[in-house]
Symmetry: C2
Subunit: 222 residues, 2 copies
């Protein structure tokens, strides 16, 4: 499968790109608003993987071209760019594509990070509202520790929660998630349930702030 | 320490009562609006513990008398009774007491259980607002699997998140939490952070609905 990671130059995008390239046979494509930046980062990831004995090609493109080339398009962009990004690629999507939304809105307050719930209900819902009607959107990868994900020496042993209203699309994303060693995918129901999933992310940062020895946390349900 | 569990006849109250009586030397007191029900349940818990070779006295009282006798008072009542319950015991509290709020508001929708955030911001905040100014309130035990907690044969291996604005009080509750085998207490900062903590509870129910083989879930941060 061809996975295009828009915002694949950012922290969570980097981790997903490296993990899929390292643990699976999927083609990984890096998208960015800046094609040059996409190329440069794709080369960096290739070098990192090569140093671990993995000979793989990672291409970088401007977001629109990256979308053209992908079967699954991950919106690894900041939450306030999710709607614009989907609109900017809408005419490059077709009904066989799957959009994946991992972004979360949060704000720092004195006591910790708080969930910033958008008017639409969730960032995943913003993506779904902006997408063409025939293109399914799946929420996933919201609660991952970015630095740990991007460090291929680090173990995971954590869960990611999959949200979606299209069963075929959620099945594809669940499969992609479980292709990453140490990541377990759980079904969190429809996109209506996204607020409870997204709001874990600021809590992970808060817990790292307040507990010595805990940082870059993920979550496991058991 | 003397721990009075108001609503100690309900599911989460039962689990906390049995675990503290089983794993620690704290005195456990069961409170209920109905003194007779409190007596009956306290006797049941004693019998359960006796069957496991633990000879311990658990007393049951009407909530006000239970409050008089406790150092730590756990508000294990439904979320819509938290404010009323605190008001009903307010003149039995003194500044050496600690109130603990584990309740969470949630509602069932088609796709799963959703967090019902009260106007005050959180149920923990409702408890804090209703309590006398000199009595500290700590949020804790929100995300526990009730049936597993009440089954002394079941292992835990999960976390509870402690919320509070009074350091001495949160220290006491953290210690009480860690007296339960298999329960790790993490500091989640002040009561302002309670919405993100409370909203995990409906998600645990949603995940159990949607994933075969998972039920009565807790959460672990790592």
């Amino acid at each position: 499968m061809r996975i295009s990671i828009l915002g694949g130059t950012g922290d969570i995008g980097e981790g997903l790109a490296l993990r899929w390239a390292f643990h699976s046979n999927h083609d990984v494509i890096i998208g960015s608003r800046d094609a040059e930046k996409a190329h440069t980062k794709a080369d960096e990831y290739e070098t990192e993987l090569d140093s671990r004995g993995v000979d793989v090609t990672i291409n970088g493109f401007e977001n629109g071209m990256a979308t053209d080339r992908g079967d699954v398009i991950v919106l690894a962009v900041p939450p306030y760019h999710v709607g614009d990004t989907v609109e900017s690629i809408a005419d490059r999507l077709d009904e066989d594509d799957v959009l994946v939304s991992p972004a979360v809105g949060m704000k720092r307050e004195e006591e910790g990070f708080r969930y910033h719930r958008p008017g639409a209900g969730s960032v995943t819902r913003i993506a779904a509202d902006a997408a063409p009607d025939d293109v399914p959107v799946v929420g996933a990868f919201h609660n991952l520790p970015a630095a740990r994900l991007a460090n291929l020496d680090a173990g995971l042993g954590i869960d990611t929660l999959i949200l979606g209203d299209d069963e075929d699309a959620t099945d594809i994303v669940r499969m992609l998630a479980e292709d990453i060693d140490g990541l377990r995918a759980l079904d969190a129901g429809g996109i209506a349930n996204a607020p409870e999933v997204e709001s874990i992310t600021p809590l992970l940062v808060t817990l790292a702030m307040h507990n010595d020895g805990l940082h870059d946390l993920g979550v496991r349900f058991s």
